[in-house]
Symmetry: D2
Subunit: 370 residues, 4 copies
Amino acid sequence: MSSSFGKLFRVSTYGESHCPGVGVVVDGCLPGMSLTEPDIQCQLDRRRPGQSALSTDRQESDRVAIQSGTERGLTLGTPISLFVPNKDQRPGDYKSMADVPRPSHADFTYQSKYGIRASSGGGRASARETIGRVCAGAIAEKMLKTALGINIVAWVSQVGQIKAPETEGLNLTRAMVDTSMIRCPDTDTAKAMEALVLKAKEEKDSIGGVVSCVCTNVPAGLGEPVFDKLEALLAHAMLSIPATKGFEIGSGFAGAQMRGSVHNDPFVVKDGRLGTTTNFSGGIQGGISNGEPIMFRVAFKPPATIGLAQETVDFQGRQATLAAKGRHDPCVAARAVPIVESMAALVLADVMLQQQARLAGMALMNQTQL
Amino acid sequence: MSSSFGKLFRVSTYGESHCPGVGVVVDGCLPGMSLTEPDIQCQLDRRRPGQSALSTDRQESDRVAIQSGTERGLTLGTPISLFVPNKDQRPGDYKSMADVPRPSHADFTYQSKYGIRASSGGGRASARETIGRVCAGAIAEKMLKTALGINIVAWVSQVGQIKAPETEGLNLTRAMVDTSMIRCPDTDTAKAMEALVLKAKEEKDSIGGVVSCVCTNVPAGLGEPVFDKLEALLAHAMLSIPATKGFEIGSGFAGAQMRGSVHNDPFVVKDGRLGTTTNFSGGIQGGISNGEPIMFRVAFKPPATIGLAQETVDFQGRQATLAAKGRHDPCVAARAVPIVESMAALVLADVMLQQQARLAGMALMNQTQL
Amino acid sequence: MSSSFGKLFRVSTYGESHCPGVGVVVDGCLPGMSLTEPDIQCQLDRRRPGQSALSTDRQESDRVAIQSGTERGLTLGTPISLFVPNKDQRPGDYKSMADVPRPSHADFTYQSKYGIRASSGGGRASARETIGRVCAGAIAEKMLKTALGINIVAWVSQVGQIKAPETEGLNLTRAMVDTSMIRCPDTDTAKAMEALVLKAKEEKDSIGGVVSCVCTNVPAGLGEPVFDKLEALLAHAMLSIPATKGFEIGSGFAGAQMRGSVHNDPFVVKDGRLGTTTNFSGGIQGGISNGEPIMFRVAFKPPATIGLAQETVDFQGRQATLAAKGRHDPCVAARAVPIVESMAALVLADVMLQQQARLAGMALMNQTQL
Amino acid sequence: MSSSFGKLFRVSTYGESHCPGVGVVVDGCLPGMSLTEPDIQCQLDRRRPGQSALSTDRQESDRVAIQSGTERGLTLGTPISLFVPNKDQRPGDYKSMADVPRPSHADFTYQSKYGIRASSGGGRASARETIGRVCAGAIAEKMLKTALGINIVAWVSQVGQIKAPETEGLNLTRAMVDTSMIRCPDTDTAKAMEALVLKAKEEKDSIGGVVSCVCTNVPAGLGEPVFDKLEALLAHAMLSIPATKGFEIGSGFAGAQMRGSVHNDPFVVKDGRLGTTTNFSGGIQGGISNGEPIMFRVAFKPPATIGLAQETVDFQGRQATLAAKGRHDPCVAARAVPIVESMAALVLADVMLQQQARLAGMALMNQTQL
């Protein structure tokens, strides 16, 4: 019962992988913002499969249509409905899987939970569900950019055991990220990563990866303690993306190995405001943004659907061999980049609005109290 | 505006570190469950400081009182209010910090967000805020145990660079965990960890750690896709605990290095139900529990408040040296164990109730449709 | 930011009166329920204008399409997206109103709130917004009927000063209600009401009315005290329908004139359960259904858009005369009947699921505690 | 599971009538507002019983204590916990009622819903539950007054069949309302009402009443269409008060008898802004405040607990006679006045914050877009 996310900037997605289409309703966008389909399509294009040899061969020419909430290119402040028809469906590809739950996929758990499940593809567990997130995220991003100048850039920092050189990513742009198919801005690493992915693909196998993300120009004060700390909302958002296994903010798991005297971020004066010399905090302290770049990393497992034969059992417990015939991604990291950016934008848009309510209310109160 | 957590099992905490007390209101506990203070006090005792040489010397003899929601030792199904008075307050310890925001603490961000902050201690960012979580978690745990037989056990699996041998923890009990001060069930590792913590303490420094947690007897079907996937709720819950920097489920970040052919968990028949031979999924697939143990890890940074002198600036940007005089934990991992267990219980209680609504509704529908 | 309603059975509507279409996403429907378009279309047909001489002449042949959430005629337990294209748009009709906020309509308040508004029709304040409610309500009704046998029937009990004879409506069916255009089941009253509406129409005026509603077979125990008392949720639901001015449950405002000795509903044994001899409570006591029929009434004002010339001012404060040229309803009561039923169904579906969670949880607990 | 109310200004109440105490947690109050107990106690004193011969003889000297969320008399922006101990308990008074559900009270429905209930008093259905609402409402009122200058005044406009002369109440103050015990500002009517209540009391009976309320200085733009229309939230809030049976906004049920040409509120220029000459809309159009006074009425039934003997049945269905021995109110209207004001304040505080988020966000966007 939880296909919605957010409190003041609230999105509700719908759609299975093989029904008429997928979509999202965005409730809470500020009124008066210019918004037309191209604002959204650009991120959707980065998400779709078939962009390169690295992803599935499926060609999904996903086109988004705005169904409500704007007029003459401006948002009305009312719910924005976005719809993307499903095309290039080949339900036949999935027939052999009807009786055999795919290992590490959601067939078994959806059947356990609902007593029924979509007969082909992954239903709501399909990667197509993320289309709605990316559409909504593009709107959130435009709002954040216009209102506060916030930038969000994600990239692939690891594939298998190949890691990109450490970078804070402060000067990265999406154009730089997109120079390689694998979306790693370090050229040499990108080539090695791509070779690794292609090797996995040839071997009908799949491989995991890590996406890093940085959000700059985030003002201090965003995040709602104590249960909606900014890092908690980001963790929630990221772990709701299919195939994710972990989330780190700032120093992350490496921070568990450190001493406080090293890990603490001392304050200094920066551009007339208080900043920190290091950023092990990842831009968040006590659940609230501190004005430094927000930096986090998300781990993606190797896709569960592989062409290699797997020994498993069917729903009745009978031994079965499964070898997926559909067209599937050998590595989701590159296509996950815009999804991670979108989920970050959804979180930031929501906490921005909540903090704006406080700031505006405080301003009203101060007028009277002075 | 977000001191509440959960949807059907909803908790609301309140209280700063140095006000009359801290507490929690638990709304949504099932009626008719036996509940008295000792059910709660046991976990609260595991959380409080001053238990051993490893933690702060502050003696907080926190005693919980049930203020509402039960009668004759049974829950009424109405909100359960729990209150723990604040004692042993020494606001004086914090005076020197009034003008200097402690590095990597929440002084600066609370001030930025609210334009005001509690003058001593950490206010809502204080570790005392977690008292409410532990109290509420004890109630959730009792409900989960009674209704479904669910067990939740957490332990310290890493301090600094010292890691305990890998274990699934399936047979661990809290008694076994509590045999060492550091709450690591492996005796040799525990000793090494404790030595490391004491060394950090002597050096007026602090050190990070990792808490692992396993939840057993969780039935298949819990978790609410797509945004409230079970791992997403757990990540949210864990990253809302103070001082956390990362969350991993199942294979976690290591999964990013793996191939799908290895990472996939093949199905087999176990005890008459479908189970998996490996558990890289960590007990969750597609956001829904699959009946296998739920396994996750949480990274804690080294506590920010240390006795060592730190160079920083005050709120006005003037150079300042800070050396905390209060009594503070050199490592939070051991005391975080019951907090991690409690947050896991809050998540599971909530998704259990949501799935019970579905199962009961489906049963009603089937009676008619047959 | 609030185009959603409900907690476990949650609906989100979208769409302005003159955009591509209106729709609704229904999240939380039980899985495995048979559902196809005709289940929904029947109520939608009762809502649409142009059904009779009593309503607007606009012909809106609204056809609903299921976009997601079902397969082979069964619900999947995932979000059900429903879309109804907008047709027969005549934006030109509204041009003269662009600069003059229509008295007692939402032009002025939307402009004040959002700084922008849909240029024609009522935008989100249009009656077309209720299409999504009716579609979602039809699904809720089917679920309530299948799971619990609940029946919901509403009718027009008053138009202007003409009131239908008092009835509890226990044996009323929708077919009986629909025998008259005005949807009053008492034939003589219906004729008088219809004459009154036609007279108002001829005079380019409009007239108010009251819709009564009864819900039977509602089991005892539904409603969530203290803030989500069943009557509070119903009041919220009903007052969210455009043009409503009042809500009464059971004795209503007449109850304010009564003595307790008369108003109290004594208990008796009925069909092996405790029932009451009278029903001034309207089927709800302490915010919880008591097993008796739930009875309430909703007041509708005369539609604001009338053909008669009205003296008013434009947005700049200049004197203006307004005479609506569009095709508008002289009385909304008849078309409001399925909307009232739908909103009642949305409320009951939500509290049913919440109580099912409790009942199922209690059953699990009792197994262990015994 | 619903003892909470509000979205950004969120209150959670707890406490049964005969447990240690009742209380409320207020999450979302703006930081930096001066707040001490006297700000709250004044309204609490107006709510408590034993104020006059008209109410129960129970003396409840309810004293509120702030447990968290303020420091040095200023709000911190963190949850404010308020506690009021229960005193003067006489559980013995209720013993005879243990087996006999009181007609039109909540004994039967709570037992049906939860399978258990508080053994004496009304548990959560007791009037003492409203203490938390009044405490929270006092905080909301102070915030509304400070930030926007909003005034909220309620009064008793009807007792039994005695109605006060119609008034918009625009110049009423609480002091004027409190000049009579019955809280009707019209002296002659007040005397007649008081006589009627005393007569009912003497006859061991009870009587209903109506409370009217006006909110002035509410700016245009508050309320969140489409499901959280301002009148819908007010209706929800009012019908969640114990013993309420109806809600009317503006013209209310009388509006159902009117023609549009009369009912429409024409716009004029007032104090440099657009206002209306009449106010049948009750200050709200399309779910959004229009700047005119918000006017509504709430119907209260005669209290269910009366001294007169009532024929009914016990939980086992055996005939029983019930005559309440406790001390109970013969009419709740006078004491309901501060409760109605408080619930109105909770609604307005919440929608004010939501609109402030929008206004502040729009201001940020405009800076960039210009």
